[in-house]
Symmetry: C2
Amino acid sequence: MAAKSYTVAIAGATGVVGGTVRRILEERGFPTRELRLLASPRSAGLKLPFNGAELEVQTLGRGSFAGVDLVFFAAGGAVSTEYVPQAVAAGATAIDKSSVFRMDPGVPLVVPEVNADDLLWHDGIIATPNCSTIQMVVALKPIYDAVGIKRVVVSTYQAVSGSGQGGIAALDAQARQWAAGEPVEQQFYPHQIAFNALPHIDGFLPSGYTKEEQKMVDEAKKIFADPDLQVTATCVRVPVFGAHSEALNVQTWKKLTAGEARELLAGSPGIVVVDDPAELRYPLPLAAEGTDPVYVGRIREDLTVDHGLDLWVVSDNLRKGAALNAVQIAEELVHRELL
Amino acid sequence: MAAKSYTVAIAGATGVVGGTVRRILEERGFPTRELRLLASPRSAGLKLPFNGAELEVQTLGRGSFAGVDLVFFAAGGAVSTEYVPQAVAAGATAIDKSSVFRMDPGVPLVVPEVNADDLLWHDGIIATPNCSTIQMVVALKPIYDAVGIKRVVVSTYQAVSGSGQGGIAALDAQARQWAAGEPVEQQFYPHQIAFNALPHIDGFLPSGYTKEEQKMVDEAKKIFADPDLQVTATCVRVPVFGAHSEALNVQTWKKLTAGEARELLAGSPGIVVVDDPAELRYPLPLAAEGTDPVYVGRIREDLTVDHGLDLWVVSDNLRKGAALNAVQIAEELVHRELL
């Protein structure tokens, strides 16, 4: 019997996340009968490769979802707000990268290594978390299961690819202007990103935290189904192209030595431990770019608190932080016959 | 009566910190009768400007300190180990930027805004802390005095100038190679620094922490004369040229609201509060370069712990983090007639 195959659509197919979804579907051989590339009218007609063919980008619109089994939404909040309900009404399952549905109690927010079982109660929409949350919860999961987690203090070092093509173009242009001895022009970000660090990602809330910081708090609680999990975040954009780094300080409920944590993490899905300082080996964003794992290193026992650990966590934010996580959700849906 | 004037020497006068000491002595009109520029033989004969004159660099050696009142040491640990005792034996006071004497119980470790009174018990040597420590303790001091500090979790975003000319040259060369489409060559740092983030500053200790991280712990305890002060650090080099940034999570003994912290910090010496997110104003390393203050912003109340605060602290690591702090120590010695 032939394996089941699916009609898949990508809304936002010409964006950096949408493009990465397309490539990962091909790389991983997702059982795709037909791939429909959807984008705004100005991208319609563009041709993009998939499985040896050239597919023409179509304008996303009312009729886009007829006969579609699965839609990856990677076009931002406004598009998801308008079209996710249409896709579901047309009978498709929507895997949504935007923040629109993430905190909806009727929508599971899923990182397969952490809470794949939440897929069981999906009702047409599955949200995939923010990039900075995903790599954090993958790294925390084995620790959470082994000894419980009370509190996490996280500081991020986030790549410009997390802002999409505009962010990549800004760093690229500014670094070239600098090298050419030309004035560096502010573009896309409110301040120069080349040779700078911007403690500002997404909008500010009345609390003084940014939405990006608040997402790490709220999404982690939902993914672990643990409203008592305490997370406080400082999110910073740095002049790195393609992978996020995070310094995590973790307070656990029970003791876990650095050696135990290292062993535990090394045996856990989605994680590669890179932690050999004597050999100058630790996770680096430049090395993580274009790869799938969540890399964990600099694993240290923090003695300033009962049961503390310091970790350094790096992952490609377009892959595990976005497109790969979405495709893994789709694979899990197939595996569990939920599609 | 003419004000007293001093014979001053800079050991390591051709390095980035030594050069900054020379410029700051001139900028601030430090009462200098004579300035002696000392360096290794390969820099001898080089001429450097000071107060309108051109001063010739001399080889640092046994006779360098005759008649000298004050020596700034900015040439690294080996030079300080050898020559600080010689300078003191010759009757000079040594202000040492290296880490050699910092934890010596007979040597005060001074940040004038925090513990200027420790100058009273100096015995010829005064140590100036590591750059990453200085800006942290300046920002913490008003909070410490007002409500007490129990624990600090700090993640740093450190500029290449903290590594001296080799670090600056590496980032400069690699960014230019990248812009020219040439292969980016590893130099100075163990990994590429351009478009990367290296969780590795100074050597590794058996605990897994780096010496840079351990310095922040040990030096903060000594400066506050508080062995119970808990600090845990992750130190990271980022592709920024000239100012360090730090994300601080601070747990205080008593409650301090974000508003109270903002007001307190704004009225404290050495600190400029930049904290108006609605106007996109927060401390930025690129803006801090070449300036004196410790900038504090992103001041938020962290509700994940009793009495928590999150802060973002930025300062030019060559100025307040090194040369300026040393010159301020000298000024304080003059002011207190301790020289």
